[in-house]
């Protein structure tokens, strides 16, 4: 009997997926559970497994095509069995759109339009009982049973998905194996793409080789692991989430810092006289970042993701966060409306925030609302580094030290003060060229700071 290979629903909001790569070809022998095709959604990449032992039938959807959830991809056939005849609608693949403009003002709805023919949820008594016990709304659950009935397995599957999505990415094979072996996925460290937990991770955990230890070669004495608390725990969780779920790319530029240095030295006494505050390179960087964000509003955006929807949120305020090291850990106080402040006002605000941060007197509102983060490790002798995006922001700027470096100009090597800027970019929100233009503009503003007057 032919068994359908269909597009699975991997997340609550998933309505379609892209066929990335066929791992098996028509006529290949497959065993149940063996990956046959790689697919990708807006959130995850995954492998679809053979639902039965047999031979893969004709491939109905070419690589690169988008298929609705439940759409037929192929069949697993008994050896020698003819593939079933297909209704014209069976393979409802549509060609992938080549480029997608992201209109900016609202969160774009990526969730499906609900089928509103009939509001009644068809669910078996067993499924209803389990859903009640687990406090799950039946309306959220995708039915797999005959006649579109929600059965117990659907409720269990949904509950597992909820659990998986709330904490980590996990491959279907790993998920099933973990259930079989009784391995707690929450304790695993994924080694797959984007930190996804893959089969090998589960097997290793099951074998007792590795739980949360960073490397199997490190032996851990009982009681020596210090659980993180407070700020350190928040940093750990947020950075892990960002680094494992945000597709980062990095852009670097070496910027001539001669004018920047001169400007700071020239303005230092003026600002000090006006405000009593020592003007820093960071203050000028804040001003430059704010100006660049005004000029490139597409960078001033956030990636919003929750249970019901995900997409791009255009931001209007320009609020610059400054990554600040405290003994207890990293915090990011925010200078709001930095685009509307003078350099003196920025310096004053910055000094106030840092002072209160060190005194442990920051309020929640001092830390909220950042649309952009600046991380400057120049004062610690760092030349260049790559920062992790502070979600849900689109970019973070990593600034190294200003240092005299050999620079070639018109065939002559000169010693010039330069600084390395490195921009980390969320590829879901911005492409390379957009990031490059933005970074180039910041470089220009730093090299010719009088442009800020325009």
């Amino acid at each position: 009997m032919a068994t359908e290979v269909y597009m699975p629903q991997l997340g609550l909001t998933m309505t379609e997926g892209t066929v990335i790569k066929w791992l098996k070809m028509e006529g290949d022998t497959v065993t149940q559970g063996e990956p046959v095709v790689e697919i990708e959604t807006d959130k995850v990449a995954a492998e679809v497994e053979a639902p039965a032992d047999g031979v893969l039938g004709p491939i109905l959807v070419s690589e690169g095509s988008i298929v609705s959830v439940g759409g037929l991809l192929s069949h697993v056939l008994a050896p020698g069995e003819a593939p079933p005849a297909l209704a014209p609608s069976a393979a409802e693949a549509v060609p992938r759109a080549t480029s997608e403009a992201l209109p900016g003002s609202e969160i774009e709805e990526l969730s499906p339009s609900a089928d509103d023919n009939d509001d009644r949820v068809v669910a078996s008594p067993r499924a209803r009982r389990l859903a009640y016990e687990l406090a799950i709304e039946l309306t959220n659950i995708e039915a797999s049973g005959p006649g579109g009935r929600i059965v117990e397995a659907d409720v269990r599957w949904y509950a597992d998905q909820m659990k998986a999505q709330s904490v980590f990415l996990v491959s279907p094979v790993a998920s099933r194996l973990a259930e079989e072996l009784g391995v707690d996925l929450a304790r695993l460290e994924g080694t797959g793409p984007r930190g996804r937990i893959v089969k090998a991770d589960v097997e290793r955990a099951a074998a007792g080789a590795s739980l949360s230890t960073p490397s199997p070669t490190v032996s851990v004495e009982a009681g020596k692991i210090e659980p993180l608390q407070g700020v350190r725990r928040v940093v750990a969780d947020r950075m892990t989430q960002s680094f494992t779920s945000t597709p980062h790319f990095y852009l670097s530029a070496e910027v001539d810092a001669m004018s920047l240095t001169q400007m700071r030295e020239r303005l230092l006494p003026e600002v000090e006289a006006a405000t009593g505050v020592h003007l820093t390179v960071t203050d000028i960087l804040v001003k430059v970042c704010a100006q660049a964000l005004v000029e490139f509003p597409e960078v001033n955006a956030a990636w919003i993701e929750d249970a019901s929807e995900s997409g791009r949120l255009q931001l209007t305020d320009v609020n610059i966060g400054i990554a600040t090291a405290l003994d207890e850990g990293l915090i990011v106080p925010v200078i709001c409306h930095a685009d509307q402040l003078t350099l003196s006002e920025i310096a004053l605000r910055r000094a106030d925030l840092i002072e209160r941060a060190r005194a442990g007197e920051l309020k929640l509102e001092d830390l909220e609302g950042g649309t952009f983060t600046l991380s400057n490790l120049g004062m610690f002798g760092i030349d260049q580094f790559h920062a992790i995006i502070n979600p849900p922001q689109s970019v973070i700027l990593a600034v190294g030290r200003i240092q005299e470096r050999p620079v070639a100009r018109n065939g002559v090597v000169l010693a010039r003060p330069t600084v390395y800027l490195t921009l980390s970019v969320d590829h879901r929100l911005l492409d390379g060229v957009q990031g490059a233009r933005f970074l180039d503009r910041m470089a220009k503003l730093l090299e010719e700071p009088y442009l800020l007057m325009v």
Binding site: A52, R126, P146
Partner: protein, 330 residues
């Protein structure tokens, strides 16, 4: 369990009758052609020679008479085992069974007992046509005061028949004519299987097949086919439909969440309806799919072999019905 050997159901029944005739002098057999001829299917072969004409009696062709004789003898302290050759002929003995045997203990305030066994044959498959092929056990099960037994294996047949003979109430014992040749291990010597205790003939996780008598073999083969789909079927044999072992059925269905009830009696108003209703009622919150029923088609059983077979639940039907309860996730 003690030592066993493989016997057919026919041999197991003959062994039970022999041992009970040996054990208890009040036990006697009466029926049409059971003595000199040894029974239509040789079940009683050799018994008259061994126990004599007083204990293994050939009767005239009068089902009402034989049954009435059995009721009277039972009330007088004997343990008669009456054979009604085909259960189609129970209709002739209906008054004796339904209005006398089933009710006398009650109507005499317990003064009278009717320890009567009626052995009879059910089932299609031998081109015996509409008057010799029915499975009318639901009629008997409908009547309070009667116990109804449907063995499916040699071991069950022997143990259940012994229990029936020793029971102080009237028991109707249905033997499937196509199953007489079914072989299986049977314990040597004396043992009984209580009436009202079901048996799990195969353990499984995903669907419960409740089957009786001849349908156990069908269910076992269907379960093998289903296992190749990854569907693991559990088979519950109630063994007696009255009294009915609800607990074994319900605990299986609560585990699997799905049930198909299979019985060779007519579908309408039959055993499957009773069992399906009990499941729907008492295991409702454990059901993951509607309870399905398979029984004989509601027509007089045809003689033509192809048509006759089409009236009885088949392996394919059981497989398709069970598959229909599953989507792609279970």
């Amino acid at each position: 369990m003690s030592e066993t050997r493989d016997l057919t159901i026919a041999e197991a029944i003959r062994e039970a009758l022999t041992e009970e005739l040996d054990r208890d002098p009040t036990v006697f057999l009466i029926g049409e052609d059971i003595g000199r001829a040894g029974g239509t299917f040789n079940i009683t072969a050799g018994l008259q020679e061994r126990f004599g004409k007083d204990r293994v009696m050939d009767a005239p062709i009068s089902e009402a008479g034989i049954a009435g004789l059995g009721v009277g003898a039972a009330m007088a302290g004997m343990r008669p085992v009456v054979e009604i050759m085909f259960c189609d002929f129970l209709t002739l003995a209906m008054d004796q069974i339904v209005n006398q045997a089933a009710k006398l203990h009650y109507m005499t305030g317990g003064q009278a007992q009717v320890p009567l066994v009626i052995r009879t044959m059910m089932g299609a498959g031998r081109s015996a046509a509409a008057q010799h092929s029915q499975s009318l056990h639901a009629w008997m099960a409908h009547i309070p005061g009667l116990k109804v037994v449907l063995p499916s294996t040699p071991r069950d047949a022997k143990g259940l028949l012994k229990s029936a003979i020793r029971d102080n109430n009237p028991v109707v014992f249905f033997e499937d004519k196509m199953s007489y040749g079914v072989k299986g291990p049977v314990d040597k010597g004396d043992y009984t299987i209580p009436l009202g205790v079901g048996d799990v003939k195969r353990t499984g996780e995903h669907v419960t097949l409740v089957a009786t008598s001849s349908m156990i073999q069908v269910a076992l083969e269907a379960a093998e086919v289903l296992s190749s789909d990854g569907i693991s079927a559990e088979i519950v044999d109630p063994r007696t439909v009255k009294p009915l072992d609800k607990e074994t059925i319900l605990s299986s269905v609560k585990k699997t969440g799905r049930a198909v009830v299979i019985d060779e009696g007519y579908l309408s108003y039959g055993v499957t309806a009773e069992i399906a209703a009990i499941i729907s009622d008492e295991a409702f919150d454990w059901l993951d799919a509607p309870v399905k029923r398979l029984g004989a088609t509601d027509v007089p059983i045809p003689m033509a072999p192809a048509l006759e077979l089409a009236t009885v639940p088949s392996i394919e039907q059981v497989v398709e019905t069970a598959r229909g309860l599953f989507g792609r996730r279970f």
